[in-house]
């Protein structure tokens, strides 16, 4: 109940944030501009539209999660409203989870709005709604949920600027960590290889949520990966939120 109240307030607070609308505007322009880019190509125009549209949803969604998420907890501390909140019978874990769910709801609405524009553009070209695109968008949203948790984790102990940088680094590492697999294959047995293997297992692999190539090219997606990717996202998000709560619990607000 308390989590719901915090989430509701966070959702309203995010709605008032101008940066949200600015990013949404950029995303909409990006999706619509895919039509212009498609004109420049020779061959399959719809592929360009799908690529640019899905990329816009993913990139601007991540920017929303990071830029809004990193300020959520910090603002409460900076404006000293945290003292009023924590003086009430409210657990710190409830505060963090409420903030997280509020931003997750905001992102859900934003992703849905961007998807509607995207599907409308695709429909204008193909005269059909492709369900595969919704799968790709759904897993973009799972990725956004994880990035939101990361933004809140850093926000619980750092400034918004540093938190944004850390969260952005997490995002980049998440999309590059698959490269470690190639390095492991080329390394000889030993401590170095074990260390890299350990890193590979623990570092985020955001490519697990990337079905954009398969969807755009109509490639088959193995059903087993839907569940394992989803559970991976949920587990990683829970781990990050757990860390955020643990750190936030130990903070002194004097």
């Amino acid at each position: 109940m308390k989590i719901g109240a915090i989430a509701g307030i966070t959702f309203k607070e995010a709605q008032r944030d101008r940066i949200l609308y600015l990013l949404f505007g950029f995303a909409a322009v990006g999706i619509i501009a895919s039509r212009v880019l498609a004109v420049l190509t020779v061959g399959d125009r719809i592929k360009i539209i799908k690529d640019v549209g899905l990329a816009s949803i993913a990139l601007f969604g991540v920017l929303m999660a990071i830029l809004i998420g990193t300020g959520l907890v910090y603002k409460e501390i900076d404006k000293k409203t945290i003292y009023t909140l924590l003086a009430k019978p409210l657990h710190r874990a409830e505060f963090i989870l409420g903030k997280y769910l509020g931003l997750a709801l905001t992102l859900l609405v934003m992703t849905a709005a961007m998807t509607v524009i995207f599907l409308a553009i695709v429909y204008a070209h193909t005269l059909k709604i492709e369900s595969g695109l919704l799968v790709a968008v759904a897993y973009v949203f799972v990725e956004l949920l994880l990035i939101t948790a990361v933004a809140i984790l850093f926000s619980s102990f750092s400034t918004p600027i540093l938190s944004s940088l850390f969260a952005l680094a997490f995002y980049l590492i998440g999309h590059l960590s698959w490269g470690l697999e190639a390095i492991i294959k080329k390394m000889g047995p030993g401590a170095g290889r074990t260390a890299v293997r350990g890193l590979y297992a623990v570092l985020p692999d955001l490519e697990n949520f990337n079905f954009r190539t398969e969807v755009v090219h109509n490639l088959p997606i193995p059903p087993a990966i839907y569940l394992s990717s989803l559970l991976y996202g949920v587990c990683y998000t829970a781990f990050i939120l757990g860390l955020a709560v643990l750190i936030f619990q130990r903070r002194d607000f004097v």
Binding site: P89, R92, V202, P220, S228, Y236, F239, V245, L246
Partner: protein, 293 residues
């Protein structure tokens, strides 16, 4: 002063939450590792080459790397090596020149990509023309480097067997300061293989006369022996063929060609030895191998 009831309750709940989290976090971590392994085990469909179809040109990238052109070239080069050495990507060589053109455009003085790109084109892609394109670009961007015309000449000589082309590349290479002396010998060899025996003789003779050491002199001498043998052999075998047209058989010995007026005299090899002649086939060969003199 007594602590209010709800604050004590909150502190107790805080400790309990910390304890629960300390138990849950390792479980979540184990879950992450297990699920990562499970997801990795699922084989996803790959679209061969799809990752580079839309890579823009190097010219465009030059303006979008914010001054980190050299770094961008390094990264693309590192990626290219991994990409082109992945045998599961069936059509990975379709954009070979495009990828290396990007690297070359971003950092024209970066030497390795020209050499490795050409090597991949010849050895793995079996696309000699792309190798020439990459090496020509290297030569155009680095006119002071003899290695590019040299490698192009080597590919033309050994792989394409296009001897006139090899000669042109070696000739271009020789004009660049610092080019090793053996390039001149490779050019002479290309001329010989092209079949221009007269120029080949003159070239090897020039190398022989200018040889700075005994080893080079010996190499040139062997080639001169070989060129002279080829000239003499051609003349004697053509004369033997004419003899056969006239008399219905090959001559019994080479002196018969002189008696028939088909050659002015029987030539000796470069060392003054007689050639071996086979009257059954009309073929002529040297007494020893030119390389074992």
């Amino acid at each position: 002063m007594k602590t209010p009831f709800f604050q004590r309750a909150s502190a107790r709940r805080g400790s309990a939450t910390t304890l629960v989290l300390l138990l849950l976090l390792p479980a979540f971590l184990a879950g992450i590792v297990g699920l990562k392994a499970a997801t990795d085990r699922v084989v996803r469909a790959k679209l061969p080459g799809s990752s580079i179809i839309y890579v823009p040109s190097g010219k465009l990238l030059k303006y979008s790397t914010f001054g980190f052109r050299s770094l961008a070239a390094d990264l693309i080069y590192l990626w290219a090596i991994q990409y082109f050495s992945t045998p599961t990507i069936d059509d990975r060589f379709d954009h070979l020149d495009h990828v290396f053109a990007i690297i070359n455009e971003l950092d024209p003085r970066y030497q390795d990509p020209y050499e490795i790109g050409a090597l991949i084109a010849v050895q793995d892609a079996h696309d000699v023309r792309t190798a020439f394109t990459i090496l020509d670009r290297g030569a155009a961007n680095n006119p002071d480097q003899w290695i590019y015309p040299f490698e192009a000449g080597h590919v033309a000589l050994m792989t394409l067997k296009d001897y006139p082309l090899a000669e042109r590349y070696f000739e271009r290479c020789m004009k660049i300061p610092g080019a090793p002396a053996f390039v001149e010998r490779l050019r002479a060899n290309a001329i010989f293989k092209k079949g221009d025996l007269k120029t080949s003789w003159e070239t090897w003779l020039d190398i022989y006369d200018k040889a700075p050491d005994e080893r080079t002199k010996k190499i040139a001498s062997n080639h001169l022996y070989n060129v002279k043998a080829a000239i003499d052999r051609t003349a004697l075998e053509e004369a033997a063929a004419k003899f056969r047209e006239r008399f219905g058989r090959f001559p019994d010995d080479l002196e018969a060609l002189v008696r028939a007026g088909l050659v002015p005299r029987v030539p000796k090899d470069f060392d003054g030895r007689d050639y071996f002649y086979n009257p059954a086939t009309g073929r002529v060969r040297t007494a020893i191998s030119p390389w074992r003199r």
